[in-house]
Amino acid sequence: MKMWKMSVLLTVASLFLVLSAAQAGKIDEIKARGTLIAGVKDSQPPFGYVDENSRQIVGFEPELCAALAAKLGVKLELKPITSSTRIPMLEQGAIDLIAGTLTHQIAREEKIDFSITYFPAAQKLLVKADSGITSVADLAGKKVGSAKGSTSEQNIKKAQPECTVVSFETYPEAFLAMKQGKVVAVTTDAPILLGIRNSDDNPADWVIAGEDIAAEPYGIGVPENDSKFRDFVNISLMEMWKSGEYQALYDKWFGEKTNFHIPLTWTMELWP
């Protein structure tokens, strides 16, 4: 019995040790390590995906992280995340930040902190061009595809309580399900839908439809209660906007020459 009590005590003690170790600043930790470990999407063109030729993860968000790593003077390591694993991974310290189409949500503030918005998206529907679906109201009694653990999944249930939400691991999988008639619409943020539509063989078969279901401002997820690190991310983003580095990056992935053209019509929150 004594052994048993001893082991419980040891476990509790080690938990406290872990908690106190987590208090050290993230910036110091990253500099000591010499690498910034960024969680990015690996199945979400053009935000983050595996390139065909280099076989590496590339995209808008990985390059945003590369800029942050350069500012810290450290190397960048990309870790793939999905919508359902990204927040636990940040909480447990497997990654230093999330740059993976993560919507800044008040409910998520309980567990992690967010940077300023670096990409303002809005949730829409992707449907077959001849489906006759033009708004969320048309989805009553129908099946809608989305991704597990995403805000889109929660929003569509609120916007149309009479539809059935079928959740997949990734949005491209939801799209494949729509192609096979398993769902009538895929719902998520418009830029992701546009990326999916334009990657298809016949983009004209699909349209992005409906009103804005919800605003989806993307922020970089950072560990809770580390204001120095969050300041660094915020100020770096603003510097990138002011220097034109952000716009150049945006143009590379969302400009007119790309498959994912979205005009740059907004301005980043810039503090004086």
């Binding site: 995906y49 447990q92 497997a94």
Partner: protein, 244 residues
């Protein structure tokens, strides 16, 4: 019939995509980047099998021991693991290990640890069944000829029992090899996740890609069973006459 054939050939018309990305399916981003694809599946399976064999052997022998302080922990371990889905064990290791160890554990390592811990419990039961299946006379004769309990186990019982266990081992290891695909849930870039990377980028050819990886899994498992048949023949010389 003709329309059916056209439909069928249209269904599988994207083999070019599989061919162009075949190296990614085999080795991932290696050597420019981390290992992935089939190579990663094999690495996880091989380390998993090796670890599970030795730990499972130890736990199985503990379970057989007449000393309670050895047998009971083994029993509790086996029963807990056998009553838990592998997917959950993988999640446990991935999300609990950092809390206990105080630092993040790479997802490949936690997946392999989960595979070893999970498969060991089954190997332990195979070991127990294998040892118990030998006629009692084997132990009695070994002890009677002056060997200690441990010596009897190592030189007489185990060589015979292990041979009997081979088919069950292979069964377990083949299923472990296939179960490595579950590691994709924590983003280990093994064969199944590599396949997803390709079809989420191209949005095409899901059937061709999945048919290809099914074939790759089959080849690996078939090689494993073929190897075990050879091993079984090689070890038959240890067989006692009584059980032949």
């Amino acid at each position: 019939m003709d329309t059916f054939m056209t439909w069928l050939s249209g269904l599988f018309s994207n083999w070019g995509i599989v061919w162009k990305n075949f190296d990614y399916l085999l080795v991932g981003a290696y050597p420019q980047g981390p290992l992935g694809g089939l190579a990663m599946s094999i690495v996880m399976a091989v380390i998993g099998i090796f670890g599970a064999f030795w730990i499972g052997l130890a736990v199985g022998l503990m379970r057989l021991s007449s000393r309670r302080w050895l047998a009971w922990p083994a029993l509790v371990y086996i029963e807990i693991i056998r009553g838990t889905p592998l997917l959950m064990v993988i999640f446990w290791f991935y999300f609990f290990a950092p809390i206990l160890l105080g630092h993040a554990v790479p997802e490949t390592d936690s997946a392999i640890a989960a595979f070893i811990v999970f498969t060991s419990a089954y190997v332990a039961e195979i070991v127990r069944a294998g040892v118990l299946s030998l006629p009692k006379g084997q132990t009695e004769a070994a002890r009677g000829s002056g060997l200690s309990h441990t010596q009897a186990m190592i030189y007489v019982i185990l060589p015979q029992a292990l041979r009997n266990m081979i088919p069950s081992f292979v069964n377990q290891f083949v299923s472990l090899t296939k179960d490595t695909s579950l590691a994709m849930i924590i983003n280990v870039n093994e064969l199944t996740l590599s396949a997803r990377h390709i079809y989420t980028r191209t949005m095409k050819a899901p059937m061709e890609i999945f048919l290809t990886i099914a074939l790759l899994y089959f080849v690996i498992c078939w090689v494993l069973t073929a190897f075990s048949r050879k091993l079984e023949r090689g070890m038959s010389r240890y067989q006692s006459r009584e059980t032949l």
